[in-house]
């Protein structure tokens, strides 16, 4: 059984101003308890770093935040309303989850960067695509590149900007820098900083010491016991 307890900023915060809150969230699969009594409060424009050992339920928390899975018990609010009253499709466009090992689909980079436009029935904005590619040090020519010819770092960067074609309210990053070299990490950090500068809210999962050191707020999930570690920058 894993037990975790989160508080962002201070425990007496006003729920009405929080962008996202989780209250007494439980998640279990059959008889197996994955999460117990998760309480979390996420303010707008905050940068929350979630840390803890492998298998402690960090990704599960992010997947619940993104409504990719539903909790077994507990409440979650988003923008002052019950998160589960939003249409899931609309909600996920505002709370965007980037997977630990993202998969690119289709044949080319363009297939991936066109997709967010296609699902919104909007015509593709190539200027926006070029702007995002530039932010991750990729030239506009990359739009026509075959995804099978991309390096691991390039694939990760394309996956990340795919989540940012339409700017979400919250960006959930699940160990997105794991396995990347220093240069690729720096590019990802720069992209996330740019997103934050525009008022974005970020929740990270990471094991990277340099990212942990740079975090504004740090929370730890540890199996089997209630832990709370808060560090404000």
């Amino acid at each position: 059984m894993f037990y975790a307890y989160f508080r962002l900023n201070d425990e007496s915060g006003d729920t009405m101003t929080a962008l996202l809150t989780m209250t007494d969230i439980d998640y279990r699969v059959g008889e197996r308890q994955i999460l117990t009594k998760i309480n979390l409060r996420l303010e707008k424009e905050s940068n929350l770093m979630v840390v803890g050992p492998s298998g402690s339920g960090k990704s599960t928390i992010l997947q619940i935040m993104a409504r990719m899975i539903s909790p077994s018990a507990g409440q979650m609010t988003f923008d002052g309303h019950d998160a589960f009253t939003y249409d899931p499709m609309v909600y996920r466009r505002r709370v965007s989850y980037c997977f630990q090992q993202p998969t690119l689909f289709g044949k080319t980079v363009a297939d991936n960067l066109n997709f967010p436009f296609e699902i919104r029935n909007q015509s593709v904005d190539e200027t926006r695509q070029h702007e995002l590619l530039a932010q991750v040090n990729l030239s506009p020519d990359y739009l026509n590149h075959d995804i099978t010819g991309l390096s691991g770092g390039e694939r990760q960067r394309v996956a990340l900007i795919r989540n940012l074609v339409f700017v979400p309210d919250i960006l959930l990053l699940d160990e997105v820098t794991t396995g990347l070299d220093t240069d690729n990490k720096a590019i990802v950090h720069s992209l996330v900083d740019h997103y934050r500068d525009r008022g974005g809210t970020v929740v990270w999962i990471t094991h990277d010491e340099s990212e942990i050191a740079a975090a504004d707020d740090l929370y730890e999930v540890v199996a089997g016991k209630h832990t709370q570690e808060v560090r404000h920058a």
């Binding site: 998640y27 539903s70 899931p88 996920r92 689909f105 997709f115």
Partner: protein, 260 residues
């Protein structure tokens, strides 16, 4: 009709010797199919005998309701068999039933309205059987492929959902691939009719002494009919079934999803 085939009981008994050949091969090669083969042969004899007498009665009565009831029984059985290919997909029997009902009723209606067949049991029932069985095979292939693709492309579907795509937009690639899988055998078979195989209906008519040129017309009709049936069956089955892989929260269902 003077050349019409005449299978008497003695010739049928001799033909049964061919089963012994198959049994011998199975035994010699240690295939372990002896039991299944015997059960299959016995079932075929019993089922066909019962159906033979049943059809004789229904053809003689020539009643609309009885004809429709017989067609429904065929569709029900076809749906039950298609269901076996979709094990693990919730409510898959009804998905199969509605799909085969749609493909059979639309195709039959088209044939009757075009004057290709008459609404008499001796034409409606055999044609329904052909349509339903081909739809059943097509739908079975769709289900099998759908289960495989949802497993193999699970991450891609999740990525699309996470980007804010609808269930439809997340799974449309899989749906299209499965429809194609369902239709492909019929398309492939239609390309080789006449040069590789002399298909069932045409062979049957020729056996019965009908002019081959006249038999061809019927076979061409069957080709059209089966293309329509398998496409309708595959499309409706895939569009009904793919939604069963998601819950009401538009989440991809998995064993680890507890659901709220």
């Amino acid at each position: 009709m003077h050349n019409a085939v005449n299978v008497n009981n003695v010739s049928l008994a001799f033909a049964a010797g061919l089963v012994l050949v198959a049994l011998f091969i199975g035994w010699r090669q240690k295939l372990g199919v002896d039991r299944d083969m015997i059960i299959g042969v016995v079932r075929a004899i019993i089922q066909l005998t019962i159906v033979g007498f049943l059809l004789k009665y229904i053809f003689a009565v020539n009643n609309v309701l009885l004809t429709l009831a017989m067609i429904l029984v065929i569709i029900f059985n076809a749906a039950y068999n298609a269901m076996k290919r979709g094990k693990g997909i919730p409510n898959i029997f009804w998905s199969s039933f509605w799909s085969i009902l749609i493909s059979t009723s639309v195709t039959l209606s088209g044939l009757v309205l075009a004057g290709a067949i008459k609404f008499v049991p001796s034409q409606m029932i055999p044609i329904s059987g052909m349509i339903a069985s081909n739809s059943m095979v097509a739908i079975g292939l769709c289900y099998r492929n759908m289960r495989t693709l949802f497993r193999d492309q699970r991450q891609q579907v999740l990525e699309r959902l996470a980007l804010g795509a609808s269930v439809h937009d997340s799974a449309i690639g899989i749906v299209r691939e499965c429809i194609k899988t369902g239709m492909q055998p019929t398309i492939d078979a239609s390309k080789t009719y006449g040069i590789v195989s002399l298909p069932g209906m045409m062979s049957g008519l020729i056996f019965a002494g009908v002019d081959p040129v006249y038999a061809i017309k019927y076979q061409i009709m069957v080709v059209f009919m089966l293309l329509s049936a398998t496409s309708l069956g595959s499309v409706s089955a895939c569009y009904i079934a793919y939604r069963r892989f998601f819950n009401d929260q538009q989440q991809l269902i998995s064993a680890s999803d507890n659901g709220k």
